[in-house]
């Protein structure tokens, strides 16, 4: 996977207690998330970040991070 670390727009899915990224736009291209393979959280100081390892339509993979202070998303890596 290549490290990207760029701000991206993400569409979220809220369903029966499940919250997960459904799609994101990067470099003008829309990527559909088919599955979250692993989610974990980290702390930078007092800010909580959620990290999602996802599979995208077409067999790709990506890592997205959600910052709970800025409510912003970052594409950490894609491959």
């Amino acid at each position: 996977m290549s490290e990207i670390n760029e701000t991206v727009q993400v569409a979220m899915l809220f369903r029966a207690g499940e919250v997960r990224p459904a799609a994101f736009i990067w470099n003008g291209h829309r990527y559909e998330v088919t599955r979250v393979t692993l989610a974990h959280k980290t702390r930078l100081g007092d800010v909580l970040q959620w990290h999602f390892a996802v599979e995208t339509k077409g067999g790709g993979a990506a890592r997205l991070a959600f910052d709970t202070l800025s409510l912003g998303w970052q594409l950490e890596a894609i491959g």
Partner: protein
Amino acid sequence: MILHIDLNSFFARVEQQAQPALRNRPIGILGKGHKGARTCICAASPEAKIYGIKSGFSVWEAKQLCPELILVPPDYPKYLDISRRFMAILGEFSPWVEIFSIDEAFVALQRNEKSEIPNSKFETNHKFQNSRHRAISNFSHWEIGHSFEIRNLKLGITEAELQEAIIVAQSIKTRLKQEFGNWITASVGIAWGKIFAKLAGELQKPDGLVVLEQKTWLDRVGNLSVGELCGVGYRLQEHLKNIGITTIRHLSQADAGQFVARFGPAAGMRLWQIGQGIDRSPVEPSHNLAPAKSIGHQITLDHDQTWRVVYPFVTKLLQKVGRRLRRAGLAAGRLSLHVSLAGGDWGDSLRHQPALTSDAALLRSIHFLWQRARIHPSRPVIRLGVVASNLKPAGQPILPLFPALEREDALTKAIDKVRNHYGEGSIEWGSSFNTEIGNLRDWRGPRAVLDQ
């Protein structure tokens, strides 16, 4: 009954769970400082282990054995979060969970002699009873013969206890799959004592579930090397070999007197008891553990650097030690500096009265040790370590007679506040600026540097 739960090839399996492209392929997780010449493999996937690759192998060695090995940089914050959630799952089934390492733990299903829990924290056991009852009611039957046997026990453990342990083990494995996915698996060993539960867990990997019974354990594991027992390391194994003991069966046939004479009354008796299938060591929940006796950090440098240029690493390590001291509400009565040099090791320490807590006081002390070292500036350094010991409770007020100390204390509190808010690397002493330990950015926002 005691369960030993071990997450299989933990770091590697976490990466395989997160990245489907790595599944079913030999991967090796790199150690800290993974860009340097001394980089080693800190975890290997089961597919890599088939080639004989183990933790601690150098990248060069590993690549010789398996040229197609995929090297993956480590992500410790991720492993820590998964580990915390793993321990929380175990806590759903019993209040007696002993964390043995980042990826393994013991769970006692019945209270044992010393594993008391404070009443205030666990006033009732409803939470655990509910999880267990739910687990039992979900299992109208369980498969027998896959990897474990159920027999009548006559040695203090009832069949109901054994059955409950098996159901709890299966439920833990199911919960892990629900929480993390199919690639993070655990091997569970069930036995009457911790050592034997761990041994049972080792018998089937990955994703095993093995019960060792007191009545038949020796038939099952008698031919295994004594080195398979937890606590029997290489040196003890060599000692035992010298007196003709190489297998667990040999250990069971040995004479207690011979052990006591050779290893002393405590260690000798303990070894003999293990041979007899006796292990009464309790499962100690973390809140029962004795407080830390020392707090230390060390680093193996990526490549040899001379004594002249390694001081920034020392102060970086010291700041990590200071931070942990203050978080634990402790002060250092002694500060030590350890250095591994090409051609020998060196170490020195200073006692302190009163004990130290502030960064400035710790830095003064380490600087004194540094100057006292008298190591030639061009001598290559391999490893550095800083240890705070003789720990005492912090918090004694500073006498107003020493306003400079009061200022240092206030400065440390301010620095800690910034670190709490922005992350560990957000502010640091000038002497350690731009010194990387680990590879992750550990702060957010702007970064501040203090003059030393």
